[in-house]
Amino acid sequence: MKRNKAFTLLEMILAVAIITIGALGVFGAAARYSKLTQKERDNLVAAYLCQEGIEIVKNIRDTNWIESASSWKDGLTSCSAGCEGDFADTDTLSAFSSTNFLYIEGSTGLYRYIASPGSSDIKTSYTRKITIVESGSDELDITVDVYWGASTMTVKENIYNWKND
């Protein structure tokens, strides 16, 4: 008589454990990927905010040319330690503070620095530091850092006094 060999309890437990670990691994990978996608989305927003920082500085330089200011870098030389700045700034930038966050302003619907936010202004986790260093009489080095959570995105750009009067 051939004896039918059955699985022992230990074998069964082991098999179930292996299957569970495998499945949990797949699930964990999917969850991590989801978190990465969200991080990627935040990165995209930060990249555009960085670009905006550069444009704000360029805009002030161009304004200096139009209004025939005393210098092409009027209002830009006080930012060697970092400045704030949002879309409404056309003249000077105020000093950077890491505790000031960008808000989505209720009245304009745009990302802004708001001194005393109201109930319709939505606080974001982003802060933006614009650092401008004079690297020559006709050259400015701009560094824009956007911080959120534990992440940072940095964009660098050099602008020049190309308009020769």
Partner: protein
């Protein structure tokens, strides 16, 4: 008894335990499968959001950067203005590469879709029908424009800020993006 062999069968306890185990494992696997699919849906929604929002923002800012001052105001509605801004819309002279001339153009939010209108000339009176820029599968819940230094004779270089707020649907907790960028006009506004 068949041919002197004893038929061996499962006992009731064995059967019950095996069914219970099978059910237990199935429930776990199905749960994991369902939540994986839900996660994947969320990932795809996020990707769609990023693609749609960055495409539309790039498309708009590319033209806004190269806008031209509207000297007679027939496009923007104001003499010597660079941009005509209204709630959820912006009208300006954009360079039309096919026609090789500046023509009036408008970007607007129509319902839950970002759209553009092209004119056949430099006036806003000939703006055609609105064509969609974003997909109808996603929901544009905000398209906002801000402008500084718009109307000459100010001495400020024009700068346009565009904010696009897109949701992937009406569901609670659906992925959402607030994407904003500014462009300073390329040509000096003198």
């Amino acid at each position: 008894m068949i041919n002197g062999q004893k038929l061996k069968s499962f006992t009731l306890v064995e059967t019950v335990i095996s069914i219970a185990l099978f059910g237990f494992i199935s429930v776990i696997l199905v749960n994991i499968f369902v939540s994986s699919i839900r996660t994947q849906t969320r990932i795809l929604q996020n990707q769609e959001l990023m693609e749609q929002s960055s495409y539309s923002l790039e498309y708009m800012t590319r033209l806004l950067r190269m806008a031209k001052k509207d000297e007679d105001g027939s496009c923007t509605g104001t003499t010597d203005a660079n941009y005509g801004i209204d709630t959820n819309s912006i009208t300006f002279l954009a360079y039309d590469t096919l026609a090789a001339e500046y023509r009036c153009r408008r970007f607007l939010k129509d319902g839950d879709v970002a759209k553009e209108m092209r004119s056949t000339d430099a006036t806003s009176g000939n703006l055609g029908t609105a064509q969609a820029i974003t997909s109808s599968k996603i929901k544009v819940s905000g398209l906002t424009f801000g402008v500084t230094g718009n109307v000459v004779p100010d001495t400020v270089q024009p700068k346009v800020t565009v904010m696009i707020n897109i949701k992937s649907g009406d569901a609670v907790g659906a992925p959402e993006i607030f994407l904003q960028s500014s462009v300073s006009q390329r040509d000096l506004d003198i």
